[in-house]
């Protein structure tokens, strides 16, 4: 695990009433929902592409990716634009509102009991106060 950044800051978002976190250094921007153009012949969880200030960015529906129930988009729905190297991808989430700091000793490895797919996308479980935040590994999530 190479997350030795000094500040350990995470963008926290909500998905099906659970909280997830993404390393802030992987997040480019957070956007409101915009019109998505469907791209044929792609995986189901790929919703299509959007125009992000002149750049074409693919959009992943995280609910679909995590096999959660579908939910109508609301005014809280956000697209978190994450990047790995020169690849930008947007993630649709129920809402995203805050950035928190979690120190390294408050992060545990994911429990063994998790299913394979989930475990592959997760790099740790963060504990903040009483809450548990699932920390996603963007690189593995995007499979790049």
């Amino acid at each position: 695990m190479n997350y030795t950044d000094k500040n350990n800051q995470f963008v926290v978002f909500e998905l099906d009433n659970e909280e997830y976190g993404i390393d802030i250094l992987r997040v480019k921007t957070i956007e409101k929902m915009s019109n998505i153009t469907r791209v044929p012949k792609t995986a189901l969880y790929i919703k299509g592409v959007i125009n992000l200030r002149g750049e074409i960015v693919p959009i992943i529906d995280l609910r679909e990716k995590f096999n959660l129930d579908k939910k109508e988009e609301s005014e809280n729905t956000r697209i978190i634009i994450v990047y790995v190297d020169d690849i930008n991808v947007g993630l649709i989430v129920d809402s995203a509102s805050k950035v928190i700091e979690i120190s390294n000793d408050m992060i545990e490895l994911p429990p063994e009991s998790l299913g394979n797919t989930e475990q592959n996308n997760i790099y740790g479980i963060g504990k903040v106060d009483d809450k548990i935040i699932t920390l996603l590994d963007v690189k593995k999530l995007l499979n790049v």
Binding site: P40, I87, L142
Partner: protein, 667 residues
């Protein structure tokens, strides 16, 4: 100093200089006495040496230094260019090219020994001639004490001395009125040969044979006989005025003169440096001022222009009722400016195809030698300009086609003579602009493509069945060449015939938005025609709707637009077709191919966009047409790379993304 930031510049410039060297060496091969070419070569080698030295790439520096020495000899007329020298120089160039590539991949210099090459270079100088100042000295005085030896010679001397042999330096001075100097020299060699070994001579043996010397020449010999015996023997030959013999007891003296010579050579280099920079300066003024720009910055500029065009389109789309006269004029003006701006930026990105073509003369030369065929390469239209991105990609496919032409196309010498053709085959490489595309042709005058053999091979390789093969016409059979896993070479040679080939060429060219076709006729040769779009970034496209989605079809692939009766669609072998203009036109329902969720509109009339790909065409059924528009092609990015049927995306005036249909993949 951190040199890494200069690495890219070094690589770029080094490649340019190598290209330059390559080209000029070829030029030198054709006209060995052209001093301009020679100076150009010298300049490139010299700059390369300096650059490599600064960057700490010692192998490159040392090698170019030795090359420079040879070139210097040639420049001062002390060495005549021959194919042997050129071969060694080319070999050096290959090494340098390899090194630079290695550096560009790893950032480090190749860990390869250059001594062998270096020795070859050194031997050229010493076997051929003594260095310049030696000759001058020789003219000024007849002293032979400064006869110099290289490392190899020194080894010979040391060994000879160790075995108790004697080493002599001999100067032979012929009488002034000697008529047959080379004959006398021949007699000298002849008489020495009986008991001595001549291991060095100045001038070289060839030059002596050609009478390229004044009245004296010098030899270094190893022998077991004594000094007097040698002298007496030589003096017995008529028309010899004097024989000066000096015995070498040890090699230290040779070493001394050797280092002296290096010192002198360095002084000479310093002078050349000065001369060089002056010449380079003069040249710079001639070619005008240029700026080297990172391609990423250009891409960025291009993106901004694209944005501007999108906004312009959007402004144009504003309902004309709601805008006043001023607004309309302003928008029109904006349109003119953006069009000009776009052209200007595109021009910046355009590079003459010369950059790619330049490397082919060398390749053809090497190949024809390797295969023992005589091939002339004719290049035309090298000033034709193409987008930089295309230039970067088009090299490999062209290499492939040219190799094919020489390996498979051009016959062996004997076969050509038997067929009453000129002994030397010819390969023509042409580029020219044709409307909105650039055409590159590779044509050979070889045996052409043997259609029946192609068919046979295709059946053998199980690409098609015998029945299918029999049904193919000539054109279709030739197209089999582009199938993956096809190779007709009887013998797998180093050059071609590995079975990966034309299909790769085809894929590459199609990925650039181009097409490739073949024309061939038996015993007259074949011609590969590549068509590439002039620019990749901004194109004219037809916008259509399919269901509720908008798609763009590149205009250059559209043949015509028509409407057909639904009832006229027939089904042939599971494929929907219509009869159109006395031909059968296959029908592609885009809504099916693109999985558009949409109930078929229940109209009896269907809009069909007829799209062509080479000679083939196909009718795409769309729901409605929006119109023609200038669109900016954007990539879908790495994450969505490799989606079939989609060539990219574009941003429409309203900010929406529309996908661009890759019509080639659907025909």
């Amino acid at each position: 100093m951190d040199i890494n930031q200069y690495l890219e510049i070094f690589i770029e410039e080094a490649q340019e200089h190598l290209q330059n060297l390559n080209q000029n060496l070829l030029g030198l091969e054709n006209s060995p006495n052209d001093n301009d070419v020679l100076n150009e070569i010298f300049r490139s080698a010299h700059t390369l040496k300096g650059m490599a030295g600064t960057m700490g790439f010692n192998a490159i520096m040392n090698l170019t230094h030795e090359m420079e020495n040879i070139l210097d000899e040639v420049r001062n007329g002390r060495l005549t260019i021959n194919s042997g020298i050129l071969d060694v120089l080319f070999e050096c160039l290959d090494f340098l090219e390899g090194s630079v590539n290695h550096i560009s991949e790893t950032g480090k210099e190749m860990d390869k020994n250059i001594d062998a090459l270096k020795n070859k270079l050194i031997n050229i100088i010493y076997n051929k001639d003594l260095p310049a100042h030696e000759k001058q000295d020789a003219e000024n005085s007849s002293a032979i004490s400064n006869f110099t030896f290289n490392q190899y010679d020194e080894n010979v001397i040391v060994q000879a001395l160790a075995q108790g042999m004697k080493v002599f330096k001999i100067e032979v001075i012929l009488s002034k009125d000697c008529m047959l100097k080379s004959a006398r020299a021949f007699l000298v060699f002849k008489s020495l040969e009986k008991y001595a070994e001549v291991f060095k001579s100045f001038p070289s043996v060839e030059d002596i044979e050609d009478e390229k010397f004044d009245n004296n020449f010098k030899l270094a010999v190893i022998t077991s006989e004594g000094k007097d015996k040698v002298k007496d023997d030589l003096m017995s030959i008529s028309e010899i005025d004097e024989i000066i013999i000096e015995e070498l007891k040890e090699v230290t003296k040779a070493f001394e003169t050797f280092s002296e010579e290096i010192a002198v050579a360095e002084v000479e280099h310093a002078e050349e440096d000065k001369e060089d920079s002056e010449e380079a300066h003069a040249k710079k003024n001639k070619i005008g001022k240029t700026v080297r720009v990172d391609i990423n910055r250009l891409d960025n500029l291009m993106n901004l222009v694209s944005e501007l065009i999108i906004i312009k389109t959007r402004l144009e789309g504003v309902d004309s009722d709601t805008r006043d006269q001023n607004m309309t004029e302003a928008v029109e003006y904006l349109e003119r400016i953006t069009t000009n701006l776009h052209d200007a930026v595109m021009k910046v990105r355009m590079v003459p195809i010369e950059r790619v073509f330049n490397r082919f003369p060398r390749m053809v030369r090497d190949l024809s030698r390797e295969l023992g065929k005589e091939v002339n390469l004719h290049i035309s239209g090298e000033e034709t300009e193409l987008d930089r991105t295309v230039i970067d990609e088009i090299g490999d496919p062209l290499i492939h086609l040219i190799r094919n032409a020489i390996d498979h196309g051009i016959e062996d010498k004997q076969e050509r003579i038997n067929n009453k053709k000129a002994q030397a085959g010819s390969v023509a490489l042409r580029a020219f602009q044709d409307g909105n595309s650039v055409v590159i042709e590779v044509e050979d005058d070889g045996k052409g493509i043997n259609v029946s053999r192609v068919k046979k091979k295709a059946v053998e390789n199980k690409l098609i069945s015998q029945v299918e093969a029999d049904a193919l016409n000539e054109k279709e059979a030739v197209d089999l060449l582009f199938q993956p896993g096809f190779s007709t070479a009887d013998v797998v040679s180093d050059v071609s015939g590995r079975g990966v080939g034309l299909d790769v060429v085809k894929t590459k060219i199609e990925s650039l938005g181009g097409t490739v076709e073949v024309e061939t006729s038996a015993n007259a040769g074949s011609k590969f025609i590549i068509r590439l779009p002039l620019t990749l970034a901004i194109i004219q496209a037809l916008l259509v709707t399919i269901g509720s989605e908008k798609y763009a079809i590149p205009l250059n692939s559209i043949k015509e637009i028509t409407s057909i009766e639904k009832n006229n669609i027939r089904i042939v072998q599971g494929q929907e077709v219509i009869l159109y203009r006395n031909g059968v036109l296959p029908i592609v329902r885009l809504s099916h191919v693109l999985d558009v969720k949409n109930d078929e509109k229940d109209s009896s009339e269907l809009t069909v966009v007829i799209v062509k790909k080479g000679e083939k065409s196909s009718g795409f059924i769309v729901d409605s047409l929006i119109g023609q528009q200038e669109i900016v092609i954007k990539s879908l990015g790495k994450y969505l790379a490799g989606i079939r049927n989609i060539a990219g995306a574009t941003i429409l005036g309203d900010g929406q993304v529309a996908l661009i249909i890759d019509s080639n993949s659907m025909i």
